[in-house]
Structure formats: structure tokens, C-alpha cells
Symmetry: D2
Subunit: 318 residues, 4 copies
């Protein structure tokens, strides 16, 4: 293992730069060359390779986004696309690849190994936290803090006016963001894709507050009711309750990473380099109960990570 | 002048609590009693009056929202509603009223003076900055900083992915927020209600950026194109350019006030009490070029405050 | 168990309000009365008791500090002081007590149980994270994020000027804060009380950077060298290197809690009430590897929590 | 005017990057070449020149510090040093120079013009706001907001414990920062270099608060008492009042600039380029009452900018 590549893929997540920094610096410390691949798998196919020096990663640990850029690449879903990528990798003499992204990106890394025997390590980079095999993904802690700070501001208006606010947060088909954000903002109701919503309970809570119904409802984007707008419409139609909708949107994907995201991103960057050096491949490096965890890439999308039970209890208890 | 009332009305704005604090403390220092009226004009009609002590305003200077609550009150638009309010004021022996809000609220204060001779002073409390007679309104500086911080996060994704983002900011029929936020985020295009949008210019800027079009467009909610969604649709229909839309929404209305908002709110609170003590009425207390400014309430909604020319120049220059 | 008390003690920590909120609301939901005791053990001796309603904890989940106030109480170190406290508790018919604080506070709670059989549950509330029996303490996550954000700002100047900055962070005799903050700010050197500092290594790192030595050193306040000022002096005396010192100080103790601190504080609040209801006493409720953990109060100060090994590795690897 | 240089000098200030961006982009738009000079006057003497493209200023508007670096240069205080700098300027065919900094830097620019007829424009870049000829300097608004946010956190502890905190802020011999920060944090006492401190008044305020003296005192670093430590000592010696000291230090110099700083920096960048193109020299470009202001460089350090009277009034009124 003399020369490795690193790319970021799929949606960007805060902490990706801290991760790139750790991969580059630990790689250089170990005496290997590190190549940054721009634009994710698209750049891999196009050969957008850049030799990384220590200085290229100076002062980036605090930056959101990814200095290597990212993309969602359709060509990589084809056999031809992956073959072209493998050619670029061989031409550049890369001995292994680190792919930071979500399960779509891991699928690509897995096929690169299966079809072309390119050693590939996945690292969990997504704000959604929906990857089996790691307690948290890089970017998740920042996203939930960003969402919570935004909703703290909305609560100022909810309290000043006595209004019902329905706030939609990201998370795709998983309710992690909604759950943590709901608990941390003291939301009166939390709707997640994993459980069926019971709007009668919400209505009861609104009624309890009397005339000045200062209510915050957090809705995960993948909730089966259909998002915050649909939720608001049901409240109107069934109970004649007026509510305001805010869809937090892309502000949840950016920003300077929190400490947890920076430390996790750094640790997994070091571990991913070590894993390649130990000839590991086709696995994701995660963290479970403070320890490093290694899991087959395939398991990250075939197995389903569960919302922790205590969270559901908490969201009802308080 | 022995006893005065203070209320907040219309949309809440950061700094309203700093303002209430200054009115209460300066009033008490001057030896007069200060009554907090809850829920704006609605609470005035209902007699929701509360005697304020110094301690009631401890530790609130940094809080968003308004501890006196606020409302948009339809009953106050009627002669009967205002008569009821005047009765409450007389019953409580209030010698004057301070109304912190926007031009709708000032209209109410003006009629209270005209119809019932209740001395009334307006203070500019709105994030929109759309009040004639003051350089800035209480809440504006916080709102533009909140929006800018949010868009800084969106820019992380815009840069990482090479995407066009259309971000809609508040401001009603005025482009102040959009203009300041557009300049401060280095937006490629700013659409404000005051000028006609030229989407060809925007398209040219997007083209200039080549394949990776990292573009931020700021659209004021009152823009004649019809907001960010309409803007995005036009880009799609006319130029086949794909863009992402974020509507910042109510996060712009809350949060801990900035220094400028706290200092302005404090200064105008002191000045409003002084104005009542000097038997002024039917005016708004504002600040122009660092000096206190006094203007007829009527002028605040009949005259139109203009976007400063240099801002339009800047938005094109850089 | 019909009536319980809750107090906060020792240094305040962000999340204490979220914790109080959870104790009060979960207690009320379980049908028991909850008494807030002001000023920690000092207020316990003086009988500063206040019946808590749900509304007393509205909108406090996002606030730093503690609405029940706190103190370091010398009288409680005496047998007489604790006897007086026990009298107040019996007069008020409190069936149990929840004490949120650090190991000094737990010592007090333990003696209250030993000497007067007052059922007492401790919950870990300190920014220092130096309590055995829980992965994190309430307030720790906020403190490390606050320190990191502050040092990100200092890094702007370090980079712009090419300077060496020595930044002292809190943590008493434990290096948790220094370690996490050092990794997350990409510090060139981290000095913690648990290990001996090797200033030659630091000097070598400074030399490697050539003329423009953009260097951040994080020093835990309990480090054996004697804090940041001493560190700076040694650099000057031994290597003639000029450095700037910043002691972050009390800003690390305040501020709106992060999501992790709010969720942890909420969870432990619910668990502490449940523990009292299950007739547990003389234990601290913590969280280890995502699960609730129960540990004898005595162990929290007799056993020593260790810095995690991977952190020491990381601080050297990157 | 075909080719101009831009440098940042003295202490770094948030907004310097927004300023560089505006100079570069407006210069390029006007068809002139823009050279970035690194390390301030030191880099000018050493010829550290770099041709700036539009892309060099992409995505820097939100960054603290200065991408051109800065320094305090002793050699430039000598005739020989300035002569060497003039040689570099002539070798590089620079037709004019923009110097962003404080009055020390302006002194240098002035001498470069006097001694070598290098057209030079100053722009006010310092957090201290102590320059005559402009309402605000670039960086000031960010610094006061940073300090206020830090003190909001300290207030959490002051309230929770009932303590007196003495907080020292920057500002050199001017009290601008202390005054704005004192008003915005609702400080009980503000000590500025421009007026004599009356610690009896402070003691009276502390007494008024009774046993739980929740008091914040803001001390400007240039205050004649000698800073926060001296202030604390006097409180101890004269009144036996215990207090806690925090010196905010360099966190006030960094961080992402506020909207006002970004807009001011952008406006003055455009205006500085325009001023060179109009053959102006030996002046500072500032902003007074919303309008651009042009003032002889010499006046910026020979004339003294005054604290605004209303601020002193406010600090006593509330």
C-alpha cells in the first residue's frame, strides 16, 4: 500500500473536511501518498486526481462542505462507468480507496471491489445517521444542533404569538434527526417515519394549552403523513387548527462541524487509513459504544438501524 | 404623567425584550409606574395589565421574542374595539402608551390618540425595516444576521455540489433584508420588490461559472416574480437550469438580538419614555444618522422608505 | 414516594435547566409533587423550597445556567449543617432528593443518606466530565463546543499573523475538555494533567512550521506545568519562542446547551425520578454506551475515570 | 491606473477578507490588475506579491482573519524600510496601493506617499473603532457581537451563583467596545478610558442587589484603573467584595464577520478602488451617516474620535 485515494460522495455533510484532513495527514505520517479525488465518483471516472500535501488540509477542520466536492453520479450505476473508474485507478496506481458517504456511495464502493478488486473502505458521511454499523455518522451531530438552534428561534415566535408551528426536518426514511431534535427542542409532538402518527394525541396536547396554544411539532421528511405541509392540512381539516409550516431544508447540511463530528471524522479517517494498510476491504469503519467497528459494506444498506427505544419513551414522557 | 403602558404588537422582533426592559427601568428611574400590557392590542381590549418591577426585566436583554406577547388584533380595527381599549386605559389611569410594532400597529396607536386623546408613542419594532422615519427598526439587524448565517451554511452545499440555490428571505413589500443579505452572502443575484428582476442577467452569471455553477440567488418575499419557487420555475422553463429552493421562513423572526438591536432598542425605550414625559404624542421615535428622530405616526405608513442607492450599486459591482 | 425535591449544586452547567424540566414534568406525570430547592445545599439548609408546576419549566430547555440557582455551601460540610438540612426535608415531607452536580455535591448527598436516611439520587451535572460512572456529564458537550468555537476565532488571528497561541481550557484535574477541544481544533499540541508534557515535541512542531509558526497549544487548567501562563514562560525561557496566552475562563460554563446535553439531561431527569420511585438511593444515574448506568455515589469520587486511549493516539496521529 | 496593490496591516479584523474580495472583484471589473501583498508592510518590503484572480476570492466573504496575512512591521518605521518597499512597488509597476488597517498602518501609507509619491488609500480595518473619520471600522461590529455573546454565557453563571464578574474587553485607549458591549449586556457598570471610574457607584449598585449580587462589570482594556484584575483588587481592598475576572482576549479578533462588517467592507473596497482611479491619495475612505467620507490620513491619528454622548447617558439610564 503505497498510494491511496479519498473521495466524498452523495450529500455533503459537516465533518467531511475534518475527515479528509485526517486521512491525508495520517497517510502522509505513515509514508504513503494520498490522492484527493474531486467530485466523488464522477471525478473518479473523469480522473480528477490531485496529490494532497499536508498544507492542503491546513485550517479546514472547522469548515462545512467538502474541499474535494461531491456529486451523485448516475454513470457509476452502470458497469461501464465503474470499469472506466477502475481504469483511472489503475492508471494512477492507487492501491486502495476511501469512500466517505452514505449507503448509495457504499454500494458503488462495494461493486468496485467485487468487479475490479479495488480495495475500498467506506466511512459514514451523511447527516441522516441512517447507516447500520455505527452509532453516529459524520455530520449528524452538527445537523441536529443546527436544526435545534433554528427551532429555538421559531419557538420565540411560537411563544410570543401563541401559535402552532409544524417544522419539517431532514432524515430521509429515518427519524433520527426528528427524534433527537424533537426531544432537544421540547417539542409537543414528534412524527417519525418509523411509527404511525396519531394526530388525535397532538390535538389533545394543543387543547391542553388552552387559548394560547404554544406548540411545536417536529416532522421527519419521510413521515408517512407526507411532511409538514400535509400535517398542517390535516390539523386544519380535522380539527380546524391553524398552524404555520417551516421546512428547514438545506441549512441542515452545512455549517462548521461540532466537536463530536470533528472528533469522529478524525478518528474514522485515521482508522480508514489503518484498515487499508491492514489489507481490509469491502467494509465500513464506524464507531459503536466508543469502540471502532468494522462491518461489511453490504450490511450497511441491507440491515436497518433502529431508533433507540429510550428516545421514543422520552418523547412521550416529557 | 404618573403611569404609562407598554405593549408589543404585530410580528415579534428580536430586541423587543431589550426595549421593554429600557422602558420599564427608565420609567421607574423617573418615578413613574409602568404597566405591561400582554398580547398587544388584544390584551389592551381585554385589560391584561401587569405592573412591572425592575426584576421583571432582569436577564431578558438577550432573549428573542417578547415577554409581553404580541398579536394581530382584528377587533382593534373597529371603532368599538378601540373604544373598549380606551375604556381599559382610563380605568387603569394610564397617562400614556408606548406601542412597539410596525405600521399596522402605529395606525392603531394613531387612532387611539385621534379618537380618544390617549397620548401614544410608537417605536419601530419589526424585522422588515420598512418604516419611514428611522434608519433601522428594532429586529432588523438580527434578522439579516440570522439569514446570512443560514445562507453561509447553504453555500457549503452549493460549493460542494456545484448547485444553484434560490433562497427566499422575509421583508414583505420591501427589499431591505434581501439587499443586505444578498451583499453579505456574496450572492450572484438579488431580487427585490423595488426593482424589476432581469433573469437574463442571472442566467448569464450562471453560464459564466461553467459546468459547476455555484450560484446563490436571494429573493425577497415580495418580489414581483412571486418568490423563490416561481423564480426556480422560470429558470427551469426558460433556461432549463435546475435549482434548489429554500424558504428561510420564521427562523428570521427569532433569536438573541445583536448588539445593534439591543442598543437601538434600549435607546428608543429611554427616548419613548422621555417623549411621553415631554407630552409628545402621535409620533414615532426613531434614529437617523445616529440622532434621535421624531416623526408623525401617519408619515410612517404614508411615506415610503427607499433602499439606499449604494446598495443597488454594490449588488452589481461585486 | 409522594413528594420529591430537586436541587442543583456546585458549578453551574448547561443542561441543568433541561434536567430540572424533565424531573418536574416526569414527576408530575407520575402523580408526585416536585419541590424546587433554590441555591443548592445552602437553600436546603435555609428551606428555600418552591412547588414546581409544569409552567415553571416552560421554555427553559434552551437556557444555560440553572433557574434553581446553585452554590458551593461550606455549612453542608459540617454535621450540623446536614442535620439542619435533614430537618427542613422532614418538615417539608420530602420523600427523596435529586442532586444534580459534581462529586463534591454527591458527597453531600451520600452523607445525607448515611446520616439521616434521606433517599438521594445524584445526577452528573458538571462541564468537567470528571465523574466515574457515566460516559458524559451534563454540560460537557456544550463546554467543548463553546471552547472550540472560541478557539476557531483565535485561529483566525494565529493564521493571519503567524503566531503561537497557548489557550487554557477548564477541566480541573481532568484532561477531558483539553483533549476533545485539542483534537477538534486541530491543535499542534495538547497538554493534559493525566500525562507529562514534553515541550521539546512542541518546539519541534513549531520549528517544522518555519518562520510563520501558526501554532495552537491547548492546555488543561490542571496540567502539571501550571497552566497556559507557565507554558508560555517555558517556551520563552527554553526556546526563546514568543507566544500569546488566552485563558478561556467562565465562558465555558454558560450558554444554550447542545442537543447531546439536552437529551442526556432529559433522559437522566426521567431516570432519576424513576429511580426514586423504585426506592433506589445513594446512587448516581449516568449513561454508559447508550444505556442507563447506576453506580454507588461513593464510587464517583473514589474511582478515577480515564481519558480514552484513542484520544491520546489521535492527538499524536494527526 | 493599470495595476494596484492591496495589503492588510496591523491586527487582523473580521471583514478584511470581504474587503479584499471587493477590491479584487471591483478592480477586475474596472479592467485593472490587482496584486495581493502578503504579510502587510513586511511582505511589501520582501516583495511577496501575488496576482489576484476572481477565483482567489471565492467563498471568503464569510471568513475571519485575512487571506493576505498581516503583520506589525518594525522595518517599515525606518526610512530605509520604506525605500525598499517603494522599490518593490516600482519594480512591480504598481500604480497605487490600498492599505487596510489602523492608524499605525495609515502612518506608513502616508509616509510612502510623502517620501516616494506612491498613491495610497487607507481603509479602516480594526476591531477597536478608534479611527477618526468613519462611524465604524471594519471588524468592530463583529467584535462587539462576539464579546456580547461571550458575556451572555458568563451571565448564566453570574445569575446561577449570584456573583460579581469583571470582564475585560479590548479597545486599546478607546472605550467604544466597552461602551457598546456594556449597554448590550445590560452591565451594571461600564469603565472606559475616556472617563474616570467611580467605584463607589459600582459598590452602591452591588449593595442594592442584596445578598445575591448578580453583577456584570465591563472594563475597557485601556481604562485608567488598569484593567479587570486591578478593578477586582480595588473591589476587594476597599469594599471586601469578591469578584471573578475574565479577560476575553483574542476571541474578539476573529470569527465570521457580521452583516454590517461585510457590507461596510464591501462598500469601502469598491470605494477605495474608485478613489485610486480618480487619482485620490493620502486619504482614508470611511463612512459617516450612511455616506462615504474621505479624510486626510493624517487626521485619522491626530484627531480624536469621541464616544457618542447618548451612550454615556444610556449606560447610566438603564
Amino acid at each position: 500500500m503505497k498510494k491511496i485515494g479519498i473521495l466524498t460522495s452523495g450529500g455533503d455533510a459537516p465533518g467531511m473536511n475534518a475527515h479528509i484532513r485526517a486521512v491525508v495527514r495520517h497517510g502522509l505520517n505513515k509514508g504513503i501518498e494520498v490522492i484527493g479525488i474531486e467530485d466523488g465518483f464522477a471525478g473518479l471516472i473523469e480522473g480528477k486526481f490531485k496529490k494532497m500535501k499536508r498544507a492542503n488540509t491546513a485550517n479546514i477542520i472547522s469548515l462545512g462542505g467538502t474541499i474535494l466536492y461531491t456529486s451523485r453520479c448516475k454513470a457509476f450505476h452502470t458497469i461501464g462507468g465503474r470499469a472506466a473508474a477502475a481504469d483511472r485507478i489503475k492508471e494512477a496506481n492507487l492501491d486502495g480507496l476511501i469512500v466517505c458517504g452514505g449507503n448509495g456511495s457504499f454500494h458503488g464502493a462495494h461493486l468496485l471491489w467485487k468487479e475490479h478488486q479495488i480495495p475500498a473502505i467506506g466511512t459514514p458521511g451523511t447527516i441522516d445517521n441512517d447507516l447500520y454499523g455505527t452509532d453516529w455518522t459524520i455530520g449528524y451531530d452538527t445537523a441536529i444542533n443546527t436544526a435545534t438552534e433554528a427551532i429555538d428561534k421559531i419557538r420565540d415566535t411560537a411563544y410570543s404569538h401563541g401559535r402552532v408551528f409544524i417544522v419539517e426536518v431532514m432524515g430521509r426514511n429515518a427519524g433520527f434527526i426528528a427524534m433527537d431534535v424533537g426531544i432537544s427542542t421540547g417539542a409537543e409532538y414528534i412524527a417519525i417515519p418509523e411509527t404511525e402518527s396519531n394526530i388525535d394525541i397532538l390535538y389533545k396536547k394543543i387543547l391542553e394549552q388552552g387559548k394560547n396554544n404554544r406548540t411545536i411539532v417536529i416532522v421527519g421528511e419521510g413521515d408517512e403523513v407526507g411532511g409538514a405541509m400535509a400535517f398542517s392540512q390535516i390539523l386544519k381539516d380535522r380539527f380546524d387548527v391553524k398552524s404555520h409550516v417551516t421546512i428547514l431544508g438545506h441549512i441542515q447540511r452545512g455549517g462548521s462541524p461540532t466537536v463530536r463530528d470533528r472528533v469522529l471524522a478524525t478518528r474514522l479517517g485515521v482508522a480508514a487509513v489503518d484498515a487499508l494498510l491492514e489489507d481490509k476491504t469491502d467494509i465500513m469503519v464506524g464507531q459503536i459504544n466508543k469502540e471502532l467497528a468494522f462491518i461489511q459494506l453490504e450490511d450497511t444498506w441491507t440491515k436497518k438501524k433502529k431508533i433507540i427505544n429510550y428516545q421514543i419513551t422520552l418523547s412521550e414522557a416529557v
